[in-house]
Symmetry: D2
Subunit: 316 residues, 4 copies
């Protein structure tokens, strides 16, 4: 028995040993055991308030179409094959099924961080430390995260608000590296009549994906407009459930002068348990003048996944 289980025990030990905690770790306001962060804001009150935002009965899926072969943060990719098991070469399925059944099936090979996605709380950290003082080595098994996995997140239901940053900057689309500062958010919100409440999903439209994804795929993935480091802190101060944009990484790339690239992810995910939504299809909402809506996201729950391809539903 010892011998039979030796390998498995060894591997398990290798994958899940725990390092010492970093000194600068602050536990979550939802408790030491919390794994879902700002999804805790989904209360009955928040759900009921959100349904009250649906006045016209209109809706929109915020996930762009994921095209196999589309660009993604390196080395991510997505590939799809459609198959017809057992139906080739005029094989008569009647013999097996009793009637001429035909069907398509499909297989994917993909990085879950391709296209429209939610960043789970186990996605990004600093100095090996992730949300709620979870040391990376303690939960990042190669077969799936043992904590902070995407399957832990309950349905994310709440109020969604949209800031049109193209209108704020007076452009059709923002440019790569163009930073959104807290002052821009404040001014745009004021001008567009948008307020922020605890538990909100805050989306920003930069025009980047609409302008570049098809027209110049390499440029699209090589940079992006987005929030500055201090804007991430400003947004976090409103205690939103999630922050998102129509870009592949939310933050300005290259970063603003003096900023750390992608450090807003630390502010949101690690320090505050706030989710990040990327490559959201915000253009149609801007076109229709919608800046407040009911937001509903039920992401497929692959156990231990870090991120997930999504298509949240906006209703107004």
């Amino acid at each position: 028995m010892y011998k039979k289980n030796f390998m498995i025990a060894m591997i398990a030990a290798a994958c899940l040993s725990t390092n010492a905690l970093a000194d600068d770790c602050s536990h979550s306001k939802w408790g030491h055991e919390d794994e879902i962060g700002a999804a805790n804001y989904v209360t009955p009150e928040q759900v009921l308030a959100a349904t009250n935002l649906v006045k016209k009965g209109e809706s929109h899926g915020l996930g762009i179409v994921i095209e196999p072969g589309m660009p993604a943060f390196p080395p991510r990719f997505a590939q799809l094959q459609v198959l017809q098991p057992g139906q080739h070469y005029n094989n008569d399925t009647s013999k097996a099924f009793g009637w001429p059944m035909v069907y398509n099936d499909d297989v994917v090979q993909m990085w879950l961080g391709t296209g429209p996605q939610i960043d789970g709380l186990g996605h990004l950290g600093e100095s090996n430390m992730f949300y709620n003082c979870n040391d990376g080595a303690s939960f990042s098994d190669v077969k799936g995260l043992t904590k902070l996995g995407i399957e832990k997140i309950p349905p994310m239901i709440g109020r969604g608000v949209l800031l049109d940053m193209t209108s704020h900057f007076g452009v059709e689309a923002m440019d790569a590296g163009q930073a959104i500062m807290s002052s821009d958010i404040e001014a745009a919100a004021k001008a567009q009549g948008v307020t922020f409440k605890q538990g909100d999903v805050i989306l920003m439209h930069t025009g980047w994906t609409d302008a570049k994804l098809k027209a110049d795929p390499k440029a699209w993935v090589s940079g992006e407009p987005g929030i500055s480091n201090e804007a991430a802190e400003y947004l976090a101060s409103f205690n939103p459930m999630a922050v998102g944009s129509d870009t592949w990484g939310l933050e300005a790339v290259p970063p603003a002068e003096g900023d750390k690239v992608f450090y807003g992810h630390v502010t949101l995910l690690k320090k505050n348990g706030i989710y990040i939504l990327e490559t959201m299809n915000t253009g149609p909402l801007v076109e229709k003048g919608v800046n407040e809506f009911m937001f509903v996201l039920g992401q497929a729950k692959i156990k231990g996944a870090v991120q997930m391809i999504i298509n949240p539903v906006a209703m107004w």
Copy 2:
């Protein structure tokens, strides 16, 4: 120029040539060009009516957790790897990013028909003919469906109703091959106070997955309780948007005496454009006594995919 494009033209031709239409084809009531079938029921009226069903503000994700390695209709499978690109061997990410960024990423290899899933209208047909007189050969490209792909489906929002068939049959869980007849549906609906309206999502709880998936995975995937052929027609007569269950294939396997195995898929998908939802996590709704709710599904939109792993949200 001719030479350069020869291969591409040839392949394209191979993948998309059109056979003669079958004689028995009936076009959709939504028109010859329709690709979304019963998702057409999602009107502003239906959305508004659905929001009115949310009274307590409670919610539940209907997708079970997809565990890599879990059983699935052969030869389907799912595998996941979690990686830390560029962060191995104590590599100091500060050199590249200017600060000690760490992150997990993830890759999947999977059949999209694994675990909780929506069957798109391009999934199953009869005699090479699919929904709305689409000949299989005309749209089933190996790189993705060119019609009826999962990315075409708009957010599915409506009224959800749940029938507890375990209560109807007086069992904890139905047995493999145990058929649900139209008379069972009628009786259960009456006893449980459930009515059916056009555009509804009709779910049935059999107890199968709760009882068998963990306890006996091989048995779980080798058979299932579910609707009979005539029950599929009965359900279709109410013009629902989708029909689903807590089983991997909705229908009784082995089929009821005289039934064609899986033929209810033809009745729903091909003949009526009604979606099928599989492996739905209905147990918690039964426990809470919820049989009417707002249903919201925004499935990730991989272009040309046949099926999609899902986690629809129920709110009541």
Copy 3:
């Protein structure tokens, strides 16, 4: 018990039912049960004769490097990831292994027909009929071929000969669609002192891959120089074990006037059980003036695979 095995029996039946044989089928000269065709030529005599060709002790691997992302016959692709399981975030592997072990592992997602490859006898047929009267539906299971799989092929050892068609045509590289006729083969062989014997591996150097793969990947995969339909028959008449080239598909694409595209595959694989070797790295042999050598191929034996990535060894 019946119920438990119902699905499996049904699927098995679906995948392996047998259609009626085509009228025009001719069985292999190696018998009705033969699955390896011209690999039957590997006799002790042939092996010994081949070793006698090694006079200088020099060697060359005929497989080009397979670069993830390289072009391939659509929709084929190859992707690779290198991982370090359990070694992230400064995880101390000493805890599990007792010493600071570190290791890289790797995962691929790929079509086996990418880059240098052998076409097995189950790869290509005509009118649903493959080598030795094997109906496609009878052995082409989605989980792997049940006959003619790549794992059946014994080590392919024999005499290799190389024809330099660039020298014959007086070009650095042949052009896409430029056909090699039997008369070209005959003339080149005569001029270059090459003879053909039963059981040989006959390779042709066109210069196509050296000229185009890096310089113009799209052009490389969109066409190619290669043998005509009658040249395939001419080559088959020598009873070789395999025929190959430095192109992705051996045959001229677009085909010669009046030829059927890829029909040489039928002549070689289906009608004669002769293997096809593609994207062979013949350039270095031409540079060194080597046109006769010992050929050794041991392909990795994935059960049921149709093709296999290879790197045969030439020694002289």
Copy 4:
């Protein structure tokens, strides 16, 4: 331009930064730049000497069959799908190709360390240091090793010798954890008339895979008989090109009393540049009484791969 290339430069920097060298690093005897280690032994003299070992003209492929779903060192796996692109639903390929062409293609998702495999010199190290003072962080890119990749290895041609350890121990198959000491190797070699020369491929038959892979797959992968730490040093002292066995990991698991598990990999790969061959099909050679043969390995050359599935050819 700066902006366009920002991401790519950043990623490249992240993946390939160099840490300080460990103090205890010894460079290879083949020079500071060497990446192929003991494959340097493949000289014309060695190749010619090897061909002289072929006396009967018999041959054997040393790779066992890789069955999709077979056990492997966790979390490795292999999956295969066979497809018929564009040939479903009675699609008439004549329209595209001008004749009724049919063909099978295949896709794999697999860890390259599944089944019969060669461990490249970039596979395993100690304290982040690999062969020839290569720091793991400096060459282990997630998209492929930038040094020590499997594609660098030239054809491995030489003398192969086989020790039958089952005969030495008087068993049909050795047991998991049963260690092969240097004294065992010495005694077996003497009794079986086997000598060791520089550049040899030394294989040991333990009977483990023949006895356990099919009969008890879980036991097979949970432990294995194999060499002790000091036996690895003893074998290395003969300067072989490769050392291999019919087990999945060459070394005793659990390790011998006082040994470090898998540390023989460090002795062979890192310290001496000697390749490791795993899951070799040695049984048939033992049956035929073959213990000296010509060894030829041409592994498929995926750029940056760490390991590779193989089928080396033995000829005698």
